[in-house]
């Protein structure tokens, strides 16, 4: 294989893995924002909580990596329910500013709590043997962990797509995103629907946070550091759109990986440039509604 093609395949592969992380973590935020128009800056805190739960489950309790992912994200999903019931619910009709302040306050508190219990030093997780090293796909070898991320992401996308487009509850969610009042007047309990999607979204964020440990390491600042990234995916993709979130995650993941390969010092510059350009042309994002 020629040199250029090798690099292109690497960028595509790494970019795809990155995009899967972005999608898994952001999709819940997109749906909950689309449903209630609630600006949730504490979403990154749920992702971080998932990461730390998995660290504790694997390191202290000796649970396997994959079972820990399941237990950790389920736990965060359940924990998020009282937050939605008792704090978020009070501010659905408030201004953007009040929602921003409440949730950024929660994010700060979560950073402090996790710093207190885990310390500021980056954490890692022990991986099972089959996720270490490379996997050979015939024409070349790829890092196993990223391959796992891509397969897992593809599986989740299929499940979510099926749930969103083919099931009764998915139809209700889509109806409520499109027109909340109309959905309520035909008898859909939007409040309960929202609690459900909120818990599911937080659980997925926790899964994303746990998967990210191997890629970026985990510190308490994760809650704010990557929050901007999740918000960008949601805003660029369009609120409440599964398709939009996936497209935004792919575009940002692949372009950012390529950009960082070509200009390592540029950091996240490419991501911000894409955001500004897309939002100036399409303020509601790829698949958003004005």
């Amino acid at each position: 294989m020629s040199h250029v093609a090798t690099i292109a395949v690497s960028i595509l592969f790494d970019g795809l893995a990155y995009a899967m992380f972005l999608f898994i973590t952001s999709v819940g935020l997109s749906v909950t924002m689309g449903l209630m128009g609630f600006v949730n800056l504490a979403h990154g805190a749920f992702a971080m909580a998932g990461g730390y739960f998995v660290v504790s489950l694997t390191r202290s309790l000796g649970l396997g990596f994959v079972p820990s992912l399941v237990v950790g994200s389920t736990a965060v999903g359940l924990i998020s329910i009282p937050f939605e019931r008792y704090l978020y619910r009070r501010l659905y009709k408030s201004t953007d500013l009040e929602q921003v302040l409440l949730t950024i306050g929660l994010a700060f508190m979560s950073i402090a709590v996790f710093t207190y219990f885990y310390g500021p030093i980056p954490k890692s997780v022990p991986l099972p043997d089959w996720l270490e090293g490379d996997v050979n796909l015939g024409f070349r070898a790829f890092p196993s962990y990223r391959a796992f991320l891509i397969v897992l992401g593809a599986a989740l996308i299929s499940v979510l797509w099926y749930a969103f487009e083919k099931t009764n509850i998915g139809a209700k969610i889509r109806a409520a995103v499109d027109n909340r009042r109309m959905a309520e007047s035909v008898g859909i309990n939007v409040d309960r629907l929202f609690t459900l999607t909120f818990a599911l979204g937080s659980g997925l964020a926790a899964l994303g946070g746990a998967l990210a440990i191997q890629l970026f390491g985990l510190t308490p600042s994760f809650a704010v550091l990557y929050l901007v990234l999740f918000l960008i995916v949601v805003a660029v993709g369009g609120l409440g759109s599964l398709k939009g979130t996936l497209l935004a995650a792919l575009v940002i993941g692949i372009i950012d990986t390529g950009g960082k390969y070509a200009f390592p010092v540029a950091g996240n510059l490419f991501i911000y440039a894409i955001t500004v350009i897309v939002l100036l042309i399409r303020p509601a994002g790829f698949y958003g509604r004005d």
Partner: protein
């Protein structure tokens, strides 16, 4: 008969008009309590002569919070990227002194204000058509873009290591900077007083009323023919210029600057200060910045983790129980209620 009716109607109209004018003028009038913060600031100069460096930081943050109050408190623009303009001002002065040898402080501040104001006008013209999440993301992305660009050319900006050892000419060619920051404190206080006078004029002018109208009900402002976009861009540019002046003062009083001035945390911090003090009420910026920085100075020495938890808790409590900040609480206090009919 008809004539007298017309005269009566006209005089009634004049009276209403006079009452409206009287209302606007009386709002504008200075009251005695307003001298209090300034007297305290001057008293601090004599009472805490060894804390003047900290005092200058407080004054700079008051100015930064004041600039945010103009757009957030009065015009209702929610931004988490206002550090962009603070950073522009800071770097105009720093790069001017280091690369161009332009170390005259007062003209440096003016230049910083102009550049930041121009940037605010251009950026504002593009982004102020949008509201909600889109606007929030655009403000964050703009500040982050500046930070990343600065890091890209760290040979010019000094990157995250910063530009240390900046030197500035003596103030007005006469007052030199001392080790304890006495000159800096008075200098910052005078600049703040000038900026405050200017902001106060804006807020109580018909233009300021139009901004409040946009915040409260933007559709009605369109309906009565107010040029909403132009008003928003204007106030955004003015606010950006003030933030730029605050940034320039920050660089001059510290003689040091790094790319962290563009941080998301920095934008969030100034917003927290303003919320704590109370938005849309001029002196909220003063109370918020003073309370926040004094608490930070004391509590973060004890434990930074504890401080971060506290500030998060404060925000949550402020949203749930004190939506108008400390000044709002003060106004609602029981001993104030009795005075009002």
């Amino acid at each position: 008969m008809a004539v007298t009716e017309t005269v009566a109607a006209a005089s009634a109209r004049d009276q209403t008009r006079e009452r409206a004018a009287e209302f606007l003028i009386s709002r504008h009038r200075y009251g005695w309590p307003e001298a209090l913060p300034w007297l305290i600031a001057i008293a601090c100069y004599f009472v805490f002569p060894d804390r003047m460096t900290f005092g200058s930081q407080v004054l700079v943050m008051i100015m930064f919070a004041l600039s945010l109050d103009l757009i957030l408190g009065y015009a209702g623009i929610v931004t988490l990227g206002h550090a962009a303009f603070f950073g522009i001002g800071a770097y105009v002065v720093a790069l001017g002194a280091l690369r161009l040898g332009w170390s005259e402080p007062i003209s440096g501040i003016v230049a910083a204000g102009l550049v930041a104001g121009l940037a605010g006008a251009v950026v504002g013209w593009f982004i102020l058509r949008y509201r909600g999440l889109t606007l929030l993301m655009l403000t964050i992305a703009f500040a982050a873009t500046l930070q990343e660009s600065g890091n890209l050319r760290s040979d010019i900006t000094g990157g995250y290591d910063g530009l240390p050892g900046l030197t500035f000419d003596p103030l007005l060619g006469y007052f030199d900077y001392d080790l304890y920051g006495h000159t800096n404190y008075l200098y910052a206080l005078v600049v703040l007083a000038i900026v405050f006078y200017f902001v106060r004029r804006i807020v109580y002018s018909p233009f300021g009323q139009a901004l409040t109208g946009i915040r409260e009900n933007v559709r009605r402002m369109y309906a009565i023919g107010s040029p909403v976009h132009l008003r928003l861009v204007t106030v955004y540019a003015v606010s950006a210029a003030i933030a730029g002046v605050a940034g320039a003062l920050f660089t001059q009083t510290n003689a040091y600057v790094t790319l962290t001035v563009f941080d998301f945390d920095y934008s969030a911090k100034v917003m927290v200060m303003l919320i704590l003090g109370g938005t849309g009420r001029l002196y909220g910026a003063f109370i918020g910045a003073v309370v926040y920085l004094i608490m930070e100075d004391n509590l973060s020495k004890l434990s930074p983790t504890f401080w971060q938890f506290g500030i998060g808790l404060l925000l949550v409590l402020a949203v749930l129980f004190a939506r108008r900040g400390l000044l709002g609480l003060l106004e609602d206090a029981p001993w104030r209620k009795r005075k009002k009919p």
